[in-house]
Symmetry: C2
Subunit: 396 residues, 2 copies
DNA sequence: TAAACTTTGTTCATTAAATAGACAAACAAA
DNA sequence: TTTGTTTGTCTATTTAATGAACAAAGTTTA
């Protein structure tokens, strides 16, 4: 059954417009909102007064006048509640607490190796409790928890598959809901990252963007027509298994020449291993160490990065031809090696000389670096809270 | 400025719901609409009476009763207007006239070779005039014209690039608007096809589908979240230039190993040529002739098709991993060779054994075959007419 | 300094459209 | 014939936006 039109819907739409106006353009007066949004002054007045009751906004003295009564300044009350975003990696967990504006208030990170499902869940619960405790007093408290996961998540918050974690059908949302009686949101980590850079990236906001999460594997988050595209069952963005070399290396997915066999952290580390690059204690080498070697001018390592960059570029070009996005953002751990990846990528992008697309494509590297994913999750939660809040206000 | 909520919007939404209900579920009564849509009986009554005034629907006697007053049957008046859809190919032009239900009333096709821009436009105008003349009398007459073009179309109906036609920056919409004072819509041919199969394909409707237009080149139309994705500048779906073999053949786009070098009509014809397959008059061979040869058991030709099928499948798998759609539909001219393509494609799709996706993917071959594109264009026009019509009704 | 004009924000009567409920008409089953 | 059901219309009510009036609080001009 489709949502029918009625007065409630009208009010929800308008209240949402007013709130968005204040969020994006504060400090702003009632009169200015009325003008910008095309809403009647009376309508704005009454909606603003409701938002004040909800504690979502606040008044803040008088503004400047240009020949008339001074306007009352309205501000978004970004401390009306706090949101928790967690990025679960393969061997780390990063959690942040943000206010409603997305500003980070508290941050925690832990590392681990090969932990069991139960152990990871326990650590996650601990982290959530710690972050909750760090939240200042506020009218709404913690408004929800969002978790980004390196795997396939369905629409009900079940982690169907996270190969690098060894997870299979984990009802993560349910588990957390049982522990914390708060709204919970589980998303694929690349989707979370895409949302994060869309909202908080320094670049101007664009309608269509691709966030490439180049970490252990390669994933992509797609913002299309201004909203996150999740695919039918959440499988979208399994782009690491796009074939770019039909007769290439065998992948465990059954095909040959998958992208992530050439352009991921794992691919680089394996190459490094086959070159005999190890730490003194014959432990597997890490990306951090490789970056250090490259900094010291190790040409073997540098060409390793350049090789990966070339393949990264090929995949990006494929995506650009498919989506014609305004922006491509490369994020996650490989950004560490940006210095050596970027020249190769830029060069390959020029290779497609057919004229279309390339001139308007902005390829950037995430400023948020490893924070894109948790910030995106926190933003999801915030967004949902603000939207739902608008419906519930009781009119007197 | 965002669209604000007000009574007009509410009415537009509800009227659109009622009309859609009648379009999709006719014959249907007012009472049934009220129930299904969750709208009040009075609301439905009044909106239905407006739609009757608009001539968009009609009453048609009494239905069966199950122990009460007999319901009045409502029907969609699919002859309230007619829509023109044109598919401009590289060496043919196909035009159809449909009623508002999408049923084909008149059809015209012409072939040509290497015509100038002006000559093509003239032929198009002729075709439009002929189709218009063939439309029966109706309250609204011709409600608009839609043209599908094998190239890149921007949001203003300019054909930016159509390499196979030799077109460059042709303001097609403007040209047609000047000639016919009717709503005009120009779209990429694959986008049009995607819309066509979404609406009129025999399969049940799905939210996310990919329409692969395998013709001279390879294009794709993407229906995501139930609506057509056009990309930032209309460049989307230039998927023929997705690289599937990084060290493969050189493409004129500047990259190597592009998909359409292996899986298009052009690719097949070129292979055929290099095998020495020509017609008696040493003219270039056509796809139709190749299909005939294959029918006669020519193993060389059959393996040609199978080779193309293999590469078609690789590209499709890439798209499936990227989009996780519910359905993939293969359309346009290569469907002629379905008999030899299908087994190879089906087999390759099994190859990805990682478990995700494959079980729920429905790969089908367009029933509309070469009609998908013009039918999609006509449907676009119809859709737009029906949506806009709802706003304009004057209330008494 | 007073008068004139501007801008802001609130209030109130009006209007549009959905809704609940009443009601008559039309029908089937008991 | 009676009873109960379904349909479609009509009316009073409710919700929320709108236009206009207005007071308050400014700035600019004479």
């Amino acid at each position: 059954m489709p949502e029918t039109g009625n007065q409630k819907l009208v009010k929800k739409i308008n209240k949402s417009i007013v709130l968005r106006m204040i969020r994006n353009h504060a400090p702003i007066s009632r009169a200015a909102i009325s003008q910008k949004a095309g809403l009647n002054r009376g309508t704005v007045s009454s909606l603003v007064s409701e938002l004040l009751d909800d504690k979502l906004i606040s008044e803040s003295g008088m503004g400047e006048s240009r020949g008339g009564r001074k306007p009352v300044i309205l501000l978004f009350n970004h401390r009306a509640g706090y949101s928790i975003g967690i990025d679960l990696g393969v061997n780390y967990m990063l959690g942040i607490l943000t206010d409603l504006k997305g500003q980070i208030v508290e941050k925690q990170k832990i590392s681990f190796h090969q932990l069991s499902l139960e152990a990871i869940i326990d650590k996650m619960k601990d982290m959530i409790r710690n972050l909750s405790a760090a939240a200042p007093d506020s009218p709404n408290g913690i408004v929800g928890i969002g978790v980004g996961v390196p795997g396939i998540v369905d629409h009900d918050g079940n982690v169907l598959l996270a190969p690098n974690l060894g997870w299979n059908n984990v009802p993560l949302k349910e588990i957390l809901e049982r522990e914390f009686s708060l709204p919970i949101l589980i998303e694929n980590e690349a989707n979370a990252g895409a949302y994060g850079v869309k909202l908080y990236g320094t670049e101007e906001i664009r309608e269509n963007l691709i966030y490439i999460s180049a970490g252990i594997g390669v994933g992509a988050g797609l913002i299309l027509n201004d909203s996150l595209y999740r695919g039918t069952k959440g499988y979208s963005g399994e782009i690491g298994h796009m074939v770019i070399d039909v007769d290439g290396k065998q992948c465990r997915c059954g095909r040959k020449g998958c992208w992530e066999l050439y352009a991921s952290e794992q691919a680089i580390l394996e190459e490094a291993r086959s070159l005999g690059l190890e730490t003194s204690k014959s432990q597997p080498i890490t990306l951090e160490q490789l970056v250090e070697h490259a900094e010291n001018g190790d040409s073997k390592v540098i060409s390793l990065f350049e090789h990966a960059g070339k393949y990264l570029a090929e995949g990006i070009l494929n995506l650009v031809n498919t989506f014609n996005p305004e922006q491509v953002i490369i994020g996650n751990r490989l950004v560490m090696a940006r210095k050596w990846l970027e020249p190769v990528i830029t060069e390959r992008l020029q290779a497609q000389t057919m004229g279309f697309n390339q001139e308007d494509i902005h390829v950037t590297y995430s400023q948020l670096s490893t924070h894109a994913s948790p910030m995106g999750m926190a933003a999801f939660i915030t967004q949902r809270f603000l939207e739902n809040g608008l419906e519930q206000t009781v009119t007197n």
